[in-house]
């Protein structure tokens, strides 16, 4: 299902700043959102081709000391991105 494969809002800018931290800037609202390095990793994976499980797998592959609740954390994070209009799900895919 398309709902399983989130994608970033193409209008939103990822500004990578210092030490792998970054800011998401939504030019339509002028709001900025800080991302930690794991958030940056997930953001870059949201291209509409990966499911939540794919994202979780990539986090496990690329990060150290991944907590057992990683799936819940990723779901919450992506849900928050969607809620803020920073990501969404492609329709009619």
């Amino acid at each position: 299902m398309a709902e399983d494969k989130p994608t970033v809002n193409p209008s939103v800018i990822l500004r990578e700043e210092f030490d792998d931290w970054a800011v998401l800037f939504d030019p339509d609202t002028a709001e900025g959102y800080a991302l930690n390095p794991v958030g940056v990793l997930i953001w870059k994976l949201l291209d509409g081709s990966r499911t939540l499980n794919d994202v979780v797998g990539a986090v496990k592959d690329n990060c150290e000391e991944v907590p057992p609740e990683v799936t819940d954390h990723c779901r919450e994070f992506i849900g928050e991105l969607v809620k803020q209009g920073l990501a969404g799900y492609e329709v009619n895919k």
Partner: protein, 379 residues
């Protein structure tokens, strides 16, 4: 400073990978010739680039994740293709602001600006409460047209900012200007500055620039207006900023503080840590008031590379580590550990040196010339 020396700074200073915003002189042309305009006769006074060059550059800004551009000039609204240029800004995921004299603003372009929903503000210059004051240095008829420009922006719900440049002809009009802007026109706020020794002002300094007495009057009046209007009046330079900054410095001296945090070096400007500028001819410069320092050219040189690697960018950033005690100008000054050294562009225009404190906002010099601090400090 050599490349190697600049590189030492790079290790110590944290700088973003790309600039967050870019100030762009989108045109060299202007319908006015204000007598204190910093732009004309400066190295920024050059020929315009065609639209295609700007649109290509905006693509690069998108790749660099630049979030905002500030379009100035010249007068941006003089460009017949301004709408196409703004469309290029929006298409490349950026927000924008425009600095204007207000006189060429009309409903057609403003309704387009409103439709983009990406405009942070259009800043209009208003220097008087009545035509004779405003027009004294800007030209006959400019007051009514600028006010109509503001009304047009308000009508179309585009955020309006107003900048009041204080000079000899309007320093007695500040209370009326505040009333006009905040009460009659109903703006949420406005900012102030004063005419600086740059561009055309260098030729007209006797007519334009504030005397020591004028400066004290401006500071006193603005602080009184702050009591009435609060933070609706602001400044990052000029008499209001000086009144506050100098009060803080005098307070520190009276209390015998060793220093104020982050002061005592040439820290007066932090612009080159988050933004860069481009002249109307496409030459990249550190700041549109330091337009003689040419760093490269748009669509030829990489903006990101200039930002991270150009020795001149690092030299300006490294100013922050140059102690004021190094300068003869500051020797023996009891405010030295509370001072920022002020604006590098004014230091350059007054003395021909960027790496020098600016005499323009020097508290010791102001007092030596008979200037007085505001009453709260003198108390």
């Amino acid at each position: 400073m050599t490349e190697a020396a600049a590189g030492g700074g790079r290790e110590r200073m944290r700088v973003m990978r790309t600039p967050k915003s870019v100030d762009i002189d989108i045109t060299d042309r202007c319908n006015l010739r204000c007598r204190y305009c910093y732009f004309y006769t400066s190295p920024a006074d050059v020929k315009d680039l065609p639209q295609e060059e700007w649109l290509r550059f905006f693509d690069e800004l998108n790749r660099c994740a630049v979030t905002t551009v500030c379009l100035a000039g010249g007068e941006p609204f003089i460009r017949e293709d301004l709408q196409d240029i703004l469309a290029g800004v929006v298409r490349n995921r950026m927000r924008y602001s425009i600095l204007s004299n207000g006189t060429l603003i009309n409903d057609d372009i403003v309704s387009y600006i409103a439709s983009t929903r990406r405009c942070d503000y259009v800043q209009v210059s208003i220097d008087g409460s009545i035509p004779i004051t405003h027009d004294s240095f800007r030209g006959q008829g400019s007051f009514f047209r600028a006010v109509e420009g503001i009304r047009c922006l308000q009508r179309n719900k585009v955020p309006v900012a107003v900048r009041v440049t204080i000079h000899r002809q309007n320093v007695h009009d500040l209370e009326n200007i505040a009333k006009l802007l905040l009460e009659d026109i109903g703006l949420p706020s406005f900012s102030t500055n004063s005419a600086g020794y740059m561009g055309l002002c260098q030729k007209n300094t006797e007519q334009v620039q504030l005397s020591t007495e004028d400066r004290h009057l401006a500071m006193t009046t603005l602080l009184k207006l702050i009591e009435k209007y609060g933070e609706r009046i602001s400044a990052t330079a000029g008499p209001l900023a000086e009144a506050r900054g100098w009060r803080e410095m005098e307070e520190a001296r009276r209390r015998g503080l060793e220093s104020l945090p982050g002061r005592g070096c040439l820290v007066g400007c932090g612009c080159t840590f988050d933004k860069i500028a481009v002249r109307a001819d496409g030459v990249i410069v550190p700041c549109n008031m330091l337009s003689h320092i040419e760093l490269g050219r748009i669509n030829v040189d990489s903006l990101a590379s200039i930002w991270l690697n150009h020795a001149s960018m690092w030299k300006i950033r490294e100013r922050r580590s140059i102690p004021l005690s190094r300068f003869e100008f500051c020797r023996g000054c009891e405010y030295i550990n509370y001072c920022t050294g002020n604006c590098p562009a004014l230091a350059y225009s007054l003395l021909g040196e960027v790496d020098h404190p600016s005499p323009d906002a020097c508290l010791r010099k102001y007092l030596a010339e008979g200037g007085k601090l505001t009453e709260e400090v003198e108390g």
